[in-house]
């Protein structure tokens, strides 16, 4: 395949969100020990039961070992070389009091922090804006409260709704589940808490936007979403960070619980800084996301578009405990420049007549390496389980890689499992054909990539689909192919 300059230009486009916000922050000194944890807890004025939770987790983390089986190559993380708390100095009681620099940041990112008047036919989006370690603002809280819907930061929830938090925190991802989840349980800073009462269809998209800004800090957000019986919520997570030379650690935990007939739709459009051409800088993204379909007929869908982060280790999963429950995973993951991604999903079938769908689209370009790791596990008593998996890889250029590691652990003979995998390459011929009809090479690539990701993109809520497409195109600019 001949090298094409235009394609190289396309993937080399600069990360647009790499600007830094100069704001006075309260940042802890680097290092991690019990005192740091007590300090984090004190900063947030947390109840003692939560501090206990953290300290117990920390004690367990000290005994754990970092995993090394992923198809990833990264220099050892020095956990003492990270500051575990950073928050803007000014008080954040109302939008008026928020540092104007921060407001400007969110404006630049296109995140609406002011509640906008309802435009005819256009749904509003409630936003929880998290800047480094704190939630800056959550919009539409009052309106949602009228319906009994709770949407606030986890710090706020710990104070206002302790019973709920106590019942569900760590119920889906146990503290010792894995190394990074354990660390997160000790030092988590902020994140969103959502509770939808029974028989309620949440009227607007709920969205949290994470912005890592401070230097040398790690971000450890914790999100907990509970959807009670016969309710529905669609939640979207967005994130970005400034361009930096040093790598920053992002170790988050997301727990979803869907009770009987409940449905949770969780979408992520992730746009972290991918690191430069040589792999310098960029975010280390180690995330544990798990959904528990606790009640019968419940449903959880994960939809993600991952285009950034230097190293990604992430497996959104569903535990299908309730009978007839449904788990879905739709993903587009791009590994370009020198990015490495080891991602996938786990579908665990426990109840009867459960169904899972996995559609994973991996795009590798330049020197990117994409690995898909999927587990479908069917328990002994999980009769009539159905799974459909489709893992497709698209290679752009000659220096990239794609790997697929599907695992099936089936312990019930009535299970019906289908798995399909394809690998394809954007060929010079295809690009030439499209160009010869008058379409520029950049648009030709975008066309082919969009076609490749169609099945996943159509799962995104309309409000975010356009952003995702734009992000895909920008991420592949310069990767030729």
């Amino acid at each position: 395949m001949s090298d094409n300059k235009q394609i190289h230009d396309v993937i080399n486009k600069e990360y647009k969100l790499g600007f830094e916000t100069l704001v006075q922050s309260d940042t802890f000194a680097k290092g991690l020990n019990e005192d740091v944890i007590r300090a984090i807890s004190a900063k947030k004025d947390e109840p003692s039961w939560l501090l206990d939770f953290r300290l117990k987790a920390y004690a367990k983390w000290l005994k754990m070992e970092e995993p090394s089986w992923a198809h990833l190559n990264y220099p050892k993380i020095d956990y003492q070389d990270i500051a575990y708390y950073s928050a803007p100095k000014k008080a954040l009681d109302s939008l008026d009091e928020v540092d104007p620099e921060i407001l400007e940041t969110y404006k630049k990112l296109g995140i609406p922090l002011e509640e906008q008047k309802l435009l005819a036919g256009v749904k509003n989006v409630a936003v929880d804006a998290v800047f480094d370690s704190v939630s800056v603002k959550t919009t539409y809280q009052e309106e949602l409260e009228k319906l009994g819907i709770i949407f606030c930061s986890i710090s706020e929830a710990a104070h206002k709704f302790p019973e709920l938090v106590k019942e569900y925190l760590a119920s889906v991802v146990p503290v010792t589940d894995n190394y990074f989840a354990c660390l997160n349980s000790a030092v988590f800073t902020d994140g969103s808490f959502v509770y939808i009462p029974p028989n309620t269809h949440c009227p607007m998209e709920l969205s949290t936007y994470f912005r890592i800004n401070a230097l040398d800090t790690g971000q450890f957000e914790r999100t907990l979403i509970i959807c009670d019986e016969n309710s529905y919520v669609s939640y979207n997570e967005g994130c970005s960070a400034p361009t930096r030379d040093e790598r920053q650690l992002h170790a988050a935990v997301v727990e979803l619980v869907a009770l009987k007939d409940g449905q949770i739709k969780y979408s992520t459009i992730q746009n972290w800084f991918p690191g430069d051409d040589k792999g310098k800088g960029g975010i280390l993204n180690f995330v544990t996301k798990r959904g528990l379909c606790k009640g019968d007929n419940s449903k959880i869908s994960w939809t993600q578009v991952e285009t950034g982060s230097a190293i990604t280790w992430k497996y959104p999963s569903c535990i299908l405990a309730g009978d007839n429950s449904v788990g879905e995973f739709y993903s587009v993951a791009i590994a370009s420049k020198s990015q490495q991604a080891d991602t996938g999903t786990k579908m665990v079938h426990l109840g009867k007549n459960t169904k899972s769908t996995i559609i994973s689209k991996g795009i590798s370009a330049m020197h990117g390496v994409n690995a898909y790791r999927g587990l479908v596990r069917v328990g002994k008593n999980a009769s009539n389980a159905r799974n459909i998996s489709e893992c497709d890889s698209l290679l752009i250029g000659n220096a990239c890689h794609a790997h697929t590691y599907p695992y099936h652990e089936i312990r019930n003979s009535s299970a019906n499992i289908e798995h399909e995998a394809t690998t394809s390459k954007i060929s010079d011929e295809q690009l030439f054909y499209i160009s010869q009809r008058g379409i520029s090479e950049e648009n030709a690539i975008a066309m082919i990539v969009n076609g490749f990701c169609k099945e996943v993109l159509k799962e995104l809520p309309m409000e975010f689909a356009a952003e995702a497409k734009e992000l895909l195109n920008i991420s592949l600019e310069g990767s030729v192919g």
């Binding site: 001949s2 094409n4 030439f432 054909y433 010869q436 008058g438």
Partner: protein
């Protein structure tokens, strides 16, 4: 419209075109014939800026512009259309969406307004009905799973919708049955309005009967060995290459 002067082109270090001189005026139909390997496809591909073809010497003027200065999509938007012998499949890209996008890129390039979906569908319906071409191809993905005939019909739809000024046909009749060839000829002939020009590669058969060329060029070993009118094609068909003084380099 098109003037080629002393064109030398190499593919992978092999010189294929060794000094081509060709003049195509608006409204003219030129046929390019010759033995296999003579360089017919290379000439047409060079005109569309195919990545395999490297121009080592020569000049190409198109509509008073230096063609070698323009890239693939620019040349297309300036009105050059090349029909492919075996159009490549592009799964995942909807054929209709692709065609509408191509039309709009050309319009944008030429400072015209975009065509909207309603208008697009209306024009497609009109044009395909004129020639009895099945519109259903547009609902599928671009060339994906198309038979040889369907691919060629798709090329015709593109031709009708893009309205190019210089049409390059690389053996558009290959693999087609009698009826299909008639359809191709009908479409091409309908586009001959005195301003549009055609350069078609063909081995003499039905197509030349149906689309009468003004000029016939016989390419041999990278150069145009003989030029004549339609009677030259008839002579070639009757007597063969050697009899008219062309040594078949492929033998």
């Amino acid at each position: 419209m098109l003037k080629i002067e002393n064109l030398h082109v190499k593919i992978n270090e092999n010189e294929i075109l060794k000094g081509i001189n060709l003049d195509i005026k608006p409204g003219e139909v030129h046929a390019l014939m010759g033995t296999n390997g003579a360089g017919k496809s290379t000439l047409v591909k060079t005109l569309s800026a195919h990545y395999d073809c490297v121009v080592t010497e020569g000049k190409i003027t198109y509509k008073n512009k230096d063609l070698l200065d323009l890239d693939v999509s620019d040349r297309a938007n300036e009105g050059i259309f090349m029909s492919f012998q075996s159009p490549i499949e592009v799964p995942g890209v909807n054929n209709s969406y692709f065609l509408k996008t191509a039309i709009n890129e050309k319009r944008a390039y030429n400072g015209e307004d975009e065509i909207d979906a309603m208008e697009f569908l209306k024009v497609v319906k009109e044009e395909t009905n004129k020639f009895n071409i099945d519109r259903k191809l547009l609902q599928r993905d671009l060339n994906d799973g198309f038979s040889g005939g369907e691919k060629k019909r798709n090329e015709l739809i593109q031709l009708l919708m893009l309205q190019p000024d210089l049409i390059l046909l690389d053996e558009i009749d290959s693999g087609l049955d009698v009826d299909a060839i008639k359809t191709v000829a009908n479409v091409i002939n309908s586009m001959l309005d005195g301003k549009r020009s055609i350069l078609m590669i063909t081995h003499y058969d039905r197509l030349l009967e149906l689309i009468k060329p003004d000029f016939v060029h016989i390419l041999n070993d990278g150069k145009i060995a003989k030029t004549g009118d339609y009677s030259l094609a008839l002579e070639l068909d009757e007597k063969g290459y050697e009899a008219i003084g062309i040594k078949d380099e492929s033998k």
